[in-house]
């Protein structure tokens, strides 16, 4: 990610230390993960020490310090999805992609994460791929759904 764009984002948020989290969210939404150089730039501009930034990026679960695959798969493990068989959905996605939650495959095709509720509980179990929602999933459907992502 180029420095000019990072600076733009920082400036959009008023270059305030209190906006640190919002800035990181914004950067990650564009870059999908937070490389070290990016964090260093943020640290420098906001005058927030690196160790504090590291604390923030590990405390909050949505930040990633490693590169992500081309497609981000989020399987909901919230309560409503849990009681409707989310575990089986997750097991099957793990089997099909060969990765566990928090991992990215070697081809950088899929990254897998679990989430705690995305607010579509009535359609559980739910999975989101690249922001696209898939509801009322049965384990048998997953292969067909994932096939659509290259």
């Amino acid at each position: 990610m180029d420095i000019g764009r990072i600076d733009q984002i920082i400036d959009k948020h008023g270059c305030k230390a209190s906006s640190l989290i919002q800035i990181l969210i914004n950067i990650q939404s564009e870059n999908h993960w937070l490389p070290k150089e990016v964090l260093e730039r943020v640290s420098e501009r906001l005058a927030v020490p690196m160790n504090q930034i590291q604390h923030i990026t590990t405390f909050y679960k949505s930040f990633s310090l490693v590169p992500k695959g081309r497609h981000e798969v989020h399987v909901c493990m919230g309560t409503a999805c849990h009681v409707r068989g989310a575990q089986r959905v997750l097991d099957t996605v793990e089997e099909l992609t060969g990765i566990k939650p928090g991992e990215t495959d070697v081809d950088l095709k899929f990254s897998l994460e679990t989430v705690n509720c995305i607010g579509c509980c009535a359609l559980g179990p739910v999975m989101v791929v690249d922001g696209e929602y898939h509801g009322n999933l049965a384990a048998g459907q997953l292969e067909d759904v994932l096939k659509n992502y290259e």
Binding site: K16, A17, S18, S19, L20, I21, Q22, L24, I25, H55, I56, F59, Y60, K61, S62, F63, M77, G78, T79, A80, C81, H82, V83, R84, R88, D91, E95, V115, N116, C117, I118, G119, C120, C121, A122, L123, G124, V126, G131, Y133, H134, G135, A139, G140
Partner: protein, 637 residues
């Protein structure tokens, strides 16, 4: 749009908005809440608009994209005005027929709700039993408005409460009304909102803040999402009124990151409200200034706790702080801060418009007004339901929810989020309000209501919540961190068949440990264990004896093919991913227990007319038939 500077201008604006609308002009309201979008509502909208354009009907039929009215289970859904005809599970291919029916003033029978008991079709939205038994004072507005249109909100009386409060009342009077209404916080604790406002108002520091808690961390609840997505202006109006009453000039909305559409809609609402002069300097000419900013969470459940949320807003890690001092005295940047939940704020315009007495006429002695619940899990009609406080659990689950799907038996209802509790069948006639739920060993929480049937294993369910809490504990307090971890270890052992005699007593002892934690996450963590142990001790005991009666814990049940029922159709064997089914043409099939991964594919694959694949509690299965007895001899054709 010119800025509105006075009561008179506001009255003129309302008049203008209303006069530009023809209530008899057909309008197709399509739910584009997150649930329906997931089911393809966007394509439906496109199909409807294309059809309208193709027929040149733009001036005759309006299409309105709205927020969630609650019946997500049957989405994508539409309501056709002025008749309020409700169609469910509408597909893009239905667009042509829908447009034709609007023009011809007919009804499309096949898209109507069918009453499962009487088999009768229901035409109007309000006559559907799911809605009929609700009291939708807040969520009912969603289908009536396009959340991106401030005019739609104005047309249903929006911002009238703001005008009344700011231009006709003193701040103290507004606080008084909220106190009088008996409104209690909808975010979990149920604290009287008026009192909280008063504390913040009376705090000596002149700089104060107001905050909307839209972190909605309870996994399985989405009331706040629906309100923010569908009625963002109502939340905003409540917030501005509160800021005026409390004396705050800056406010924040803290929205969880998983809710992108909510962020989009509320951000737009703020921008439009500024243009109209409902936000900014000298609002409606009252002399009151107020601005709002939106901040996003970054995936930490504990940030829903108010002191943690404040730290997160300050750009820090969201670790709770000891209270007192309460945020009302020392909150954001050490200034007095009033935090309320989304739904709490959304109730404020209602109280101002209708008066505290009307608001308090709904509900029980200690809990006034309505509450929105997210009715999910093993219930037929899942979705959002708004009910008067004091309705019974039975009415929610059966009258509104339509009961349990399939021919399964009801087991329990869980409320209060991860640190809440379960209510078994014997408590179904309980009246739902803050105090009764607490008395029953659960709590109101933010409104998650998860229905469980016989296939939900209560031990695994308790383990699920403890695992969630272990993961989400910020780790600051030892009792929380260690207490949860130890309970989780025992529960995990029990669900994996490693439970021992004495574990249950040990668990009960451990429930005392985390009580000394700083925040309610640690304090409430024992609740799921205590309430399941209290009502479902027999399930715990069965696990310790090696059996999971609900067929959930993989180590504690087995798949078994009943030899006398197996017709050697070979379906199961072909579906088994583990190669664990031995069989062949005309051979009775057998599950190799050593290879079976308990995936359940064979159970689904076995044709119901044979029903040969079954599950049995425990590890022991009957010995397989000897090889020579496995051949099926079929009669001649």
């Amino acid at each position: 749009m010119p800025k509105i500077n006075s009561s008179a201008e506001f009255a003129a604006l309302r008049k203008e908005v209303l006069s530009s609308r023809d209530p008899n002009r057909p309008c197709i309201a399509v739910c584009t809440g997150s649930g329906c979008l997931a089911l393809g509502a966007a394509n439906l909208v496109t199909a409807l608009k294309d059809e309208i354009q193709a027929q040149g009907l733009e001036s005759r039929i309006e299409v309105r994209e709205t927020g969630c009215p609650g019946f997500c289970e049957r989405g994508p859904l539409i309501v056709v005005y002025p008749d309020e005809t409700c169609y469910l599970k509408v597909q893009p291919a239905d667009a042509k027929e829908v447009i034709a029916s609007v023009l011809e003033k007919t009804v499309i029978d096949r898209l109507l709700y069918v009453d499962p008991v009487t088999g009768e079709r229901v035409v109007h939205e309000m006559d559907i039993p799911f809605y009929q038994n609700q009291l939708r004072l807040l969520i009912g507005n969603n289908i009536k408005l396009d959340p991106t249109s401030i005019e739609d909100y104005l047309a249903i009386g929006g911002y009238a409460a703001l005008e009344k409060a700011l231009c006709q009342m003193k701040p103290e009077q507004v606080v008084g009304l909220v106190k009088e209404s008996g409104l209690r916080g909808r975010g979990g604790g149920g604290f009287p909102s008026g009192n909280k406002w008063e504390f913040t108002r009376n705090a000596p520091d002149p700089v104060k803040y107001v905050v909307v808690n839209a972190d909605e961390g309870d996994p399985g609840a989405f009331m706040d999402r629906a309100l923010l997505e569908g009625s963002p202006h109502a939340v905003l109006e409540g917030l501005i009124i509160g800021a005026y009453a409390i004396g705050a000039h800056e406010g924040f909305l803290y929205v969880r990151q998983e809710y992108p559409l909510a962020v989009e809609n509320i951000t737009l609402a703020i921008k439009t409200a500024e243009e109209y002069g409902f936000l900014g300097k000298n609002i409606l000419g009252s002399g009151f200034d107020f601005i709002v900013e939106v901040a996003q969470g970054a995936g930490a459940f504990v940030c829903g706790e108010e002191t943690a949320l404040i730290r997160s807003l300050e750009g820090k890690a969201g670790e709770p702080k000891p209270r007192p001092p309460f945020p009302a005295v020392r909150g954001l940047w050490d200034k007095p801060t009033n935090i309320n939940n989304v739904e709490t704020w959304a109730n404020i315009p209602l109280i101002i418009n209708k008066g505290p007495a009307a608001f308090a006429s709904v509900g029980t002695a200690g809990s006034k007004g309505t509450k929105i619940f997210s009715l999910v899990g093993k219930v037929k009609n899942t979705g959002l339901v708004e009910v008067p406080m004091g309705i019974t659990l039975r009415d929610i689950v059966y009258k509104i929810g339509g009961g349990i799907p399939g021919d399964k038996r009801f087991k329990a209802v869980q409320t209060g989020g991860p640190a809440g509790g379960c209510m078994p069948e014997s408590l179904l006639d309980m009246e739902v309000d803050f105090d009764q739920l607490t008395k029953a060993g659960s709590m109101m929480g933010s409104g998650g209501m998860i229905v469980l049937d016989e296939e939900t294993c209560m031990v695994d369910f308790a383990r699920f919540f403890l695992a969630f809490l272990a993961d989400e504990s910020c780790g600051k307090c030892v009792p929380c961190r260690e207490g949860i971890q130890q309970m989780l270890t025992i529960l995990t052992d029990i669900t994996q068949g490693k439970g021992k005699k004495g574990d249950l007593d040990l668990l009960l002892q451990l429930t005392e440990v985390s009580g000394a934690s700083l925040c309610a996450l640690g304090k409430g963590a024992p609740n799921p264990v205590m309430s399941t142990l209290k009502h479902f001790r027999d399930e715990y005991e069965a696990h310790i004896e090696g059996k999971c009666p609900a067929f959930t814990c993989k180590e504690l049940f087995s798949f078994y093919i009943e030899p006398e029922k197996c017709q050697a159709c070979t379906n199961c064997g072909r579906k088994c991913p583990a190669g664990a089914i031995e069989g062949g043409k005309n051979l009775i099939h057998v599950v190799d227990q050593a290879k079976c991964t308990k995936c359940g594919a064979c159970l689904e694959a076995c044709p119901p007319r044979f029903g040969a694949v079954t599950r049995i509690p425990g590890k022991a299965v009957p010995a397989p038939l000897p090889e020579d007895a496995r051949t099926i001899v079929r009669g001649n054709k």
